[in-house]
Amino acid sequence: MSIDWSVVIEYKDYFVRGFITTIELTVVAIVFGLIIGLILGLMQISGKIYLKVPARVYIDLFRGTPLLLQILAIHFAVIPTIWEDILQMTPPSALFSGFVALSLNAGAYIAEIFRGGIESIDKGQMEAARSLGMTYGQAMRLIVLPQAFKRMLPPLGNEFIALLKDSSLVTVIAVNDITYAAFTTAKSTLERMGPYVTAGVMYLLLTLVLSRVVLYLEKRFTPQARKK
């Protein structure tokens, strides 16, 4: 068995576009996932039932159903309903559906990481900050979150890598990501191995870079004293 790499060269534009699209999907989902996750995480620890319950329902919904189903439902049901029936407009591209689905899904997982991180910080830290006259928001922002963030980095790193790989599921709604490039190249050239191996190498490259970035951040957020 030999692998014919020439088809990969021939279809390289597909792969380049796929590479960029996968990065876009991951970055957008990380950014919005962090924002959604922070809001939901804070809602969960707020101690107010009218904030806790909606957050809990959201997290259970997005963690309890398959991502593939979420992508299909958002692209073929939710977004067309909103855009065509309510806004009376043409729905945006499949890529937009991919952004939405991955961000909403990541938000649910990241919310749990935020909640765990915040709850792991000793309650005395919040009390000390409040006793100095800081508001709840200041105490969270200046005292609790910076300490929690350091503890959240390893699980966040795992989540980001999972997200990068799960982004391949948007292939089913024909978003031009790495997996889609491999799939279409293989289908139209009948060359089986080359395209899929290429896609695998691309994902591996991205996950390795991402895990190194997370490791670097973990080091940077460790106080000077501990490095010695």
């Binding site: 006793s131 100095l132 006259g133 106080p223 000077q224 004293a225």
Partner: protein, 240 residues
């Protein structure tokens, strides 16, 4: 300075404070003693509303803490608190631990806050530790920084919640020395403590608490040498 009227505190169904009434004057040093579980820490924590009050009145510095219209952040910024477990901010250097609240709560310029923080560090004998992280300090040093941090807000009252209970014995003295100096400067202080020597020497008044009540109060001389109540006698015979 502080007036407490019939203060009650419930955790669920459990009544921890069963009706505390007392008054603390400006420049007075009041030590609160009593067995563990007697409610003395809860009482102290009610004075800056780290605990919500179930019923009764707490008036600090003219602010009624139980009035929902009172700005609690404002009140808390005028009341310093020192914790048993220090609660320094581990991700901040000593200097930043002290300047954080003046900068963010009082909106003090950074330079002014740092100058003041260095003065306070000198006062507690730790000016050379300004750029250390808390984990590089001993327990006694941490507690002295915690006192400096509270003083940076220029509080009108200082609350101490068993400030020496988590310390190794050889470090208790250095923390008590700083507190003694504060008392001599005329700071109003409420100190929950097991250090009977400190209460006797520095306290203007001692409150003995047990089972959610103030059982007995008086000058240290009176309370320690001729306690009136059976429970006070029993407690003092165990600790003195």
């Amino acid at each position: 300075m502080i007036r407490v009227e019939n203060l009650q505190k419930k955790y669920g169904d459990h009544l921890v404070l069963k009706g505390i009434t007392t008054e603390i004057q400006e420049r007075e040093v009041v030590c609160v003693i009593g067995p563990s579980g007697s409610g003395k820490s809860t009482f102290l924590r009610c004075l800056n509303l780290l605990e919500t009050v179930t019923s009764g009145k707490v008036i600090v510095n003219g602010h009624d803490l139980t009035d929902p219209k009172t700005n609690l952040n404002q009140v808390r910024s005028e009341v310093g608190m020192v914790f048993q477990q220090f609660e320094l901010f581990p991700h901040k250097k000593v200097l930043d631990n002290i300047t954080l609240a003046p900068i963010h709560v009082r909106k003090m310029p950074k330079e002014t806050a740092e100058k003041k923080a260095l003065e306070l560090l000198r006062k507690v004998g730790l000016q050379d530790k300004a750029h250390a992280y808390p984990e590089q300090l001993s327990g006694g040093q941490k507690q002295r920084v915690a006192i400096a941090r509270a003083l940076a807000m220029e509080p009108k009252v200082m609350l101490f919640d068993e400030p020496t209970s988590a310390l190794d014995p050889e470090m208790v003295g250095e923390v008590l020395a700083v507190m003694r100096e504060l008392a001599n400067e005329g700071m109003t202080m409420v100190v929950v403590t097991h250090e009977m020597g400190f209460a006797r020497e520095v306290g203007d008044r001692v409150l003995f608490m047990d089972d959610g009540y103030i059982i007995e109060e008086g000058t240290p001389q009176a309370l320690f040498s001729s306690p009136q109540h059976e429970r006070t006698k029993a407690f003092l015979s165990k600790v003195l």
